[in-house]
């Protein structure tokens, strides 16, 4: 009698194993190249016409903000009527679009080419087009850097709260609760007033940017990280409960591997989307403060301060309002639409 020491071992018959035929091999070969999550998302994003157009508008505005000041013959703070040792030539103030000042007209009469003032000039005789370009530049820069600040602080604190948990989490979330319930705009106004007085940036690189913008960044860093931190904490908490994390842990994966391979890739789309949607928020706040006179320092222009100046002369020169208004609406609208498109493309869990 055959003594079976391993009653549960499988007695396989090697004769039953035959090589696969060509037909069988074809069956398992890939039908098309495998696609990554990023590629999939980009494909969905490019299919979304509205989002694509918004992205193109944004890229165009950004490029013109960078390129136009390089070759434009007028500077944003150059008062064209200013003459050495003479009273300023007031014929340059408040020019309508495509009009020229007196000395310029003389030069044109002599057959010289004078670069046109596409949008006219402002009350100080400065070329308005280049001021709008600089304004858009400031707005975009503020929006971009503010959301980077928010992203860094929010990501760090949110992931610490979510991953460490326990008392650390509890303490962080109480602080978040309190900051969250603070009326942010009022605090920003207050801090801008005070920081404008306290900060002394003379003779530093930051001087040209102005204390108000710096204080705005400080305030963004202090206040706006909370919603980002809250969201990232929530993401990490829910991801930690997922079965694939459990199974990774069960198969012996270490903490760092889990963070790198499971938590981060699943978080990244939400992080990118909310960063993108943070930018218009920052631009709104900057233009709001500039409108109240708490934004950029003159002679630097921002879209908010340009609009604010235009309102003062709205009866006589209403066209001064249109350019900054159109640019700011175009920027914010395309950022909003692009952000929505990003969300639709990269967050398959949201089917809104």
């Amino acid at each position: 009698m055959l003594k079976n020491n391993k009653p549960f071992s499988l007695h396989l018959n090697p004769d039953l194993f035959t090589p696969a035929t060509e037909e069988d091999k074809e069956y398992i070969s890939a039908m098309r190249p495998s696609s990554t999550f990023f590629k999939d998302g980009m494909k969905r994003l490019l299919k979304n016409k509205v989002a694509t157009i918004s992205a193109i508008v944004l890229i165009l505005i950004t490029i013109s903000c960078i390129v136009i000041p390089m070759f434009w013959p007028y500077a944003y703070d150059q008062q064209l009527g200013q003459r050495p040792r003479k009273r300023p030539d007031s014929s340059y103030n408040n020019l309508a679009p495509m009009q020229y000042g007196e000395t310029e007209l003389e030069r044109i009469a002599e057959g010289e080419f004078v670069f046109p003032h596409l949008l006219g000039t402002d009350s100080q005789g400065r070329d308005y087009f280049i001021r709008v370009v600089y304004g858009a530049r400031i707005s975009l820069a503020v929006g971009f850097f503010a959301s980077i600040i928010v992203l860094i602080i929010g990501l760090t604190i949110g992931s610490i709260a979510g991953y460490v948990g326990g008392k650390v989490d509890l303490a962080i979330m109480r602080v978040v609760d309190i900051i969250y319930s603070l009326p942010d705009t009022l605090v920003i106004i207050l801090l801008s007033v005070v920081l404008g007085e306290v900060l002394n940036l003379e003779k530093t690189i930051l001087e040209r940017i102005g204390t108000n913008i710096i204080s705005m960044f400080i305030v963004f860093g202090l206040l706006y990280w909370v919603s980002m931190a809250r969201m990232i904490r929530g993401q990490i908490l829910s991801l930690r409960q997922q079965e694939y994390v459990l199974s990774a842990r069960a198969t012996g994966a270490k903490g760092f591997w889990i963070i790198r391979k499971h938590l981060l890739p699943n978080c990244i789309s939400v992080v990118i989307i909310s960063t993108a949607l943070q930018i218009p928020n920052a631009i709104f706040t900057e233009s709001f403060l500039s409108f109240l006179g708490l934004g950029v320092n003159a002679p630097m222009a921002s879209l908010g301060s340009l609009a604010s100046d235009a309102v003062k002369g709205i009866r006589s020169y209403p066209y001064l309002l249109i350019a900054p208004a159109v640019v700011i609406c175009a920027i914010v609208l395309s950022l909003n639409l692009f952000g929505d498109g990003l969300r639709d493309a990269f967050d398959p869990k949201l089917n809104a």
Binding site: I189, V311, C329
Partner: protein, 309 residues
């Protein structure tokens, strides 16, 4: 009312009180961190006058004592002290004068925004993908992308400068029409989008299908089931909406020259009227915190499904 709910209300009220306390403390110390003399901008004044002024505003005392006095004045007498630049006026009187106009402006704007927003959102959801729906969505997307100072100045330009239908000055009743519209546009657009998406969500629920299957008439489904349930997320927006209206009024009252709190606040900033800035910030912040508390509590009361934690 269950004990759990009472506990929740208590907890939230305490958090709100703590927030208000933090606002007062932070604003007080931040304001007093401003270097230099608050009266430095005025004509050269003698040392005695300087000392008299400092005594009047309590600036001769040490800072912690000033803080305790200030806090006690607010809590027990609802008094924010005298204004530094408006001679002989108390901060709280200036605020209350402005509130008469600002409160009317804000409340009408809030009510109008809520009403039109809900109606437009419901219509858009019920006629999903129709031309009307698309039109409403495009319009609201545009409105949420426009800062209120842009919409405000354009309304001013079109309706009072060019057409001359309403006065540009917000001191009369007809002059308040444009400020109300300007303030209401953004929240209206936001509520429309909120109502639409939550209504679409509700319309896909099983209980709507059940009601339909039972033969409940369409209008009854819409008003009795769909609209009622889809308003729950809208309630959560009430707090942020009022906060938006409060801060939006700073700009709007400036544009239309409305004699409200917002304009008083902005001019106190330009005048560097520190007691006024301090008092108005605390007042408006308290208002916003209370509004947020009320809207949060209302939300929990209205929807019994929500857990108290």
């Amino acid at each position: 009312m269950s004990g759990k709910m009472l506990f929740y209300i208590l907890k939230r009220a305490l958090l709100a009180l703590l927030t208000i306390f933090i606002v007062i403390t932070v604003t007080f110390f931040v304001m007093h961190a401003v270097p230099g003399n608050p009266f430095a901008g005025e004509k050269a004044i003698s040392a005695e006058a300087q000392a008299a002024l400092e005594a009047k505003f309590g600036l001769d005392k040490p800072l912690p004592e000033q803080y305790v006095d200030y806090l006690a004045d607010i809590i027990f007498r609802f008094d924010f002290g005298p204004s530094m630049k408006l001679r002989g006026r108390q901060v709280i009187d200036v605020i209350m004068d402005g509130m008469k106009t600002s409160a009317v402006l804000g409340l009408i704007a809030a009510a109008g925004a809520a009403l039109t927003g809900v109606i437009l959102g419901a219509v858009a959801a019920l006629r999903r993908n129709s031309i009307l729906d698309k039109f409403i969505m495009v319009l609201t997307t545009a409105f949420v992308s426009m800062p209120s100072f842009i919409t405000g100045t354009f309304l001013l330009l079109i309706f009072s400068v060019w057409l001359g239908w309403v006065p540009a000055n917000g001191t009369t009743t007809s002059g308040l029409i444009l400020p109300v519209i300007t303030l209401a546009l953004y929240p209206m657009a936001y509520i429309t989008r909120l109502t639409r998406s939550s209504m679409l969500d509700v319309l896909g629920q099983d209980y709507i299908r059940t009601a339909r299957a039972k033969g409940v008439p369409g209008w009854k489904i819409i008003f009795g089931h769909a609209l009622k349930n889809s308003l729950i997320p809208v309630i959560t927006y009430f707090g942020p909406m009022l906060a938006f209206i409060v801060t939006g009024s700073l700009v709007v009252e400036q544009i239309f020259a409305v004699p409200g709190v917002g304009r008083a606040f902005v001019s106190s900033i330009t005048n560097r009227d520190y007691t006024m800035i301090l008092g108005t910030t605390i007042f408006l912040a308290t208002l916003i915190v209370i509004m947020n508390l009320v809207s949060d509590l209302l939300y929990k009361v209205v929807d019994p499904r929500i857990e108290f934690d």
